[in-house]
């Protein structure tokens, strides 16, 4: 598909045609619909890691808390946790095969590491919080609910990008 692919180079391979990658991603989502009966999800698995971590430190507090408490004493025993593990694994296999594993803090050439770390951390806290509020993230709400044509999920998608563009404009220096 890609005419530039060079099998002889030792550097990272070029990315897949995005439309083809989208087609594969869509097929995976469709398979999830037809086999699991649910869509994809990532933030649910992360939140459950949070519940397990907090539960290890303060078991009684978590057991009695109204949100995490509902997940029982073993929050990791849930299909979304396994899906998240699979996502890590699938990403790893693909990245290794394409020689794209490269430890680094990705940022603009002149941006300070501190700025980038701050952005990644605050973005993560917001995402963890907001994905619980909206019961899903880009995969669980936007992609899954969008493919279902669910009203709330499409509103989530629109709100996401509207706010994302605004925030990215303020955060643009990390890429300079």
């Amino acid at each position: 598909m890609n005419p530039d692919r060079s099998v002889h180079s030792n550097g990272p391979r070029p990315y897949m045609n995005p439309y083809l990658a989208g087609l594969i991603l869509g097929a995976v989502l469709l398979a999830a619909f037809l086999v699991l009966g649910t869509g994809l999800g990532a933030s649910g698995g992360i939140a459950r890691v949070g519940a397990a971590a907090q539960g290890a430190l303060m078991p009684r507090h978590v057991a009695a808390s109204p949100y995490f408490g509902a997940w029982g004493s073993n929050p990791l025993s849930y299909y979304l946790v396994f899906m998240f593990a699979g996502t890590l694994l699938g990403g790893l296999v693909s990245a290794v095969a394409a020689r794209r594993v490269e430890p680094q803090l990705e940022r603009g050439p002149t941006a300070s590491p501190r700025r980038r770390i701050l952005m990644a951390l605050s973005g993560g806290v917001l995402a963890g919080f907001a994905s619980r509020l909206a019961s899903g993230c880009t995969s669980g709400q936007a992609l899954t609910g969008g493919a279902m044509l669910a009203t709330g999920s499409l509103l989530f998608l629109v709100s996401l990008f509207a706010a994302g563009y605004a925030a990215a404009w303020f955060a643009r220096r990390q890429w300079s």
């Binding site: 509902a70 996502t87 669910a150």
Partner: protein
């Protein structure tokens, strides 16, 4: 026809976990192939320099959308096999914006960050760490956020419904929108970054045509489409599920069913009384455990999803709130008792003779069996003259008290005269003249003293709030009820009256001595609020004008009518009804006691429409009225019984107040 793990309710199975791992693998693989292991590439969409996110996401969405609708149309999968995401407008819009800010700042989202970590990106690891913290933060703030979390919850909503078009038609429009977005992405990328490699390429042309043809094929297929009814039936979010369960009454246990299960001694059933310990000790359903609402999660933790937990209180509000909270903590086996203890009394324990509808012989036997089990066989029949504490709440029997003589947590108060008391009294009993609790207040004589003076008295009697007080009357039960009223004003509700009083105790030859009781003075705490049951003449006058209460005058009939009078004016409060206090009593062999409960129930049911009717009880000075108030509130369970302490002595002395006489 496919049965999904969701449709089979098997998402918790280990097979589903394995399948999820596989699906996740494909998900991560596709994301990485697309280049989403790089935040710079992901963030490109926000600066129009790399529109890969748009291309990949929209293609994936269209693929899955067309595939799903095709599968539904062809009957490959049924609507009830898919978990359709519910719409919660407020939470999804606010959540979407917050999430978008996070995406804009970090240029990661949870799924891509997983792939980023796999690609060695430190910023992805930091992002995921933050997301874990953010999730914990949400859990900590959930109490405050709950209204937002459920704000605009609307169940499953489809965009095509909102627009008034069919799903396949909207899918076609959406596909057209997607194709336009692809061309826009290529064009803007070419303008800003000089890339946009597929703009006008044969590939993009072919791909665009393929998407539109597929969408058109889905649109023209004869389609059963989404079964709206099946979708609405399933998969609500937890919060909605709780609400729906409650609305459907699926979380209720009927009193009769509970009674039957309790009688079988079923060990999987746990009955929990969430009222105050005082109310619990006064009366509770046999076999119930007393747990304060705040301690429910911890106490019930070992029974989570094991057997059946039934909560009850007097009504249903508090158990419903407690059940709601427990359900959110993952307790799926908590039920509440329909109509609470009141319902249990009415539907299970109410004697056959008092029931409105005649019962079949079978039902009569059933009610007797329930009463025998829950109240003890001695009181199984309604026409028994001697009630137990269960049948006559507010009273205790001589045998009960005899067992508790000498106990530090029980204080006995006798009301007889001093010489009589000194000649022999119940062991450990103190003497209290009810007049010690009365005096001139606001110019009106014989008023119950202010609470700070009452608590001083209680302190001198060595009474502490946790003590159970038993008042022993002698002939005049109203002496005991007046002391009871003083105790209630001080906030002390743990008291009972000895059924049959001193005379019965003596007749049964129970222990008597002449020793001084050992008393250590205490400082009884003064309640912060005024007692809730005393009303003054202004309130009564308002009730007269608004006819908003049953005004119950308990003086002898000739005083009520005005034939006799020893006050400023003769007669009664306009609109009042008469039930002399002495009508509630019966004397046999020199022992005065209350009439059987059944008789009292019947008499008052004729005068007062329901147990929630507001009743104001009065007499001449409040003394006799304290007895009727005790009967109504403490024995019969009327819930809104007020006491006009000033009574006729005050009312007749205020010339501005209206008076009525009856022929």
């Amino acid at each position: 026809m496919i049965t999904t793990f969701f449709g089979n309710d098997a998402l918790g199975s280990s097979t589903a976990m394995a399948v999820s791992l596989l699906v996740g693998f494909g998900f991560g693989f596709a994301l990485e192939r697309a280049g989403f292991g790089s935040s710079r590439k992901l963030g490109g969409i926000f600066y129009f320099r790399d529109m890969t996110v748009l291309r990949v996401m929209f293609t994936a969405m269209l693929t899955a959308m067309l595939g799903l609708h095709l599968a539904l149309s062809l009957g490959i999968v049924a609507s009830d096999q898919i978990y359709f995401l519910p719409t919660v407008y407020g939470a999804q819009i606010v959540g979407g914006m917050l999430f978008g800010v996070g995406f804009g700042l970090a240029c990661w989202c949870p799924g891509t960050a997983a792939v980023g970590v796999a690609s060695g990106r430190l910023d992805a690891l930091i992002y995921l760490f933050g997301a874990v913290l953010g999730s914990i933060l949400f859990n900590e703030l959930y109490g405050l956020l709950e209204p937002l979390y459920t704000w605009g919850g609307s169940g499953v909503k489809f965009i095509w419904e909102a627009l008034g078009v069919s799903a396949p038609f909207f899918a076609l429009i959406f596909s057209g929108l997607g194709v336009a977005a692809f061309w826009f992405a290529e064009w803007i990328e070419r303008r800003t970054a000089g890339t946009g490699p597929y703009f006008g390429s044969p590939f993009l042309k072919a791909f665009s045509v393929a998407v539109l043809v597929a969408a058109f094929a889905v649109a023209v297929l004869p389609s059963t489409g989404i079964d709206r009814a099946a979708v609405s039936r399933l998969g609500p979010p937890p919060e909605t599920a709780i609400l729906q369960t409650m609305q459907a009454g699926e979380d209720h246990v009927e009193p009769e069913a509970l009674a039957d299960r309790l009688m079988t001694g079923d060990p999987s059933l746990l009955l929990v009384d969430i009222r105050t310990p005082g109310e619990y000790s006064a009366f509770h359903i046999k076999g119930a455990l007393s747990v304060a609402p705040a301690e429910l999660p911890e106490t019930l933790a070992p029974r989570r999803d094991k057997g059946t937990i039934v909560l009850y209180s007097n009504g249903m509000t508090h158990p419903a709130q407690a059940r709601d909270a427990l359900a959110r903590m993952g307790f799926n086996n908590v039920y509440i008792l329909t109509d609470g203890l009141q319902g249990f009394m009415r539907r299970v324990l109410k004697p056959v003779s008092l029931r409105e509808a005649p019962l079949t012989a079978e039902m009569t036997a059933q009610v007797d069996a329930w009463r025998g089990f829950f109240l003890g066989t001695a009181t199984a029949r309604a026409d028994d003259s001697q009630g137990s504490a269960g049948d006559m709440p507010g009273l205790v029997e001589t045998a009960w008290l005899n067992e508790r003589l000498g106990r530090g947590d029980v204080r006995i108060i006798e009301t007889r005269s001093q010489p009589a008391y000194n000649g022999g009294h119940l062991p450990g009993a103190v003497r209290m003249d009810p007049e010690h609790f009365r005096g001139v207040v606001g110019g009106v004589s014989s008023m119950l003293l202010p609470v700070d003076m009452i608590v001083r008295h209680l302190g001198l009697l060595g009474i502490r709030p946790e003590m159970t007080i038993v008042v022993v009357p002698s002939e005049k039960i109203m002496d005991a009820t007046l002391i009871g009223t003083a105790l209630e004003r001080a906030g002390h509700r743990r008291y009972a009256i000895l059924n049959g009083g001193w005379e019965k105790w003596l007749a049964e030859r129970r222990p008597v001595d002449t020793l001084l009781p050992a008393i250590t003075e205490t400082a009884y705490p003064s309640p912060r609020e005024a007692d809730p049951f005393t009303v003054d003449y202004r309130t009564v006058l308002e009730h007269v004008h608004r006819r908003s209460a049953v005004l119950l005058d308990v003086r002898p009939a000739d005083y009520f009518s005005g034939a006799k009078s020893d006050e400023a004016r003769a007669g009664h409060i306009p609109g009042a009804v008469n039930r002399p206090f002495a009508d509630d009593l019966t004397t046999t062999d020199g022992i005065t006691s209350f009439k059987p409960r059944a008789e009292l129930e019947e008499a008052y049911a004729r005068m007062i429409p329901s147990k929630d009717t507001t009743v104001v009880v009065s007499c001449r000075t409040g003394h006799q009225a304290s007895q009727t108030r005790f009967v109504l509130q403490n024995i019969l369970g009327y819930r809104k019984v007020f006491w006009y302490d000033g009574g006729w002595a005050e009312w007749s002395s205020r010339p501005e107040l209206p008076v009525e006489t009856s022929p």
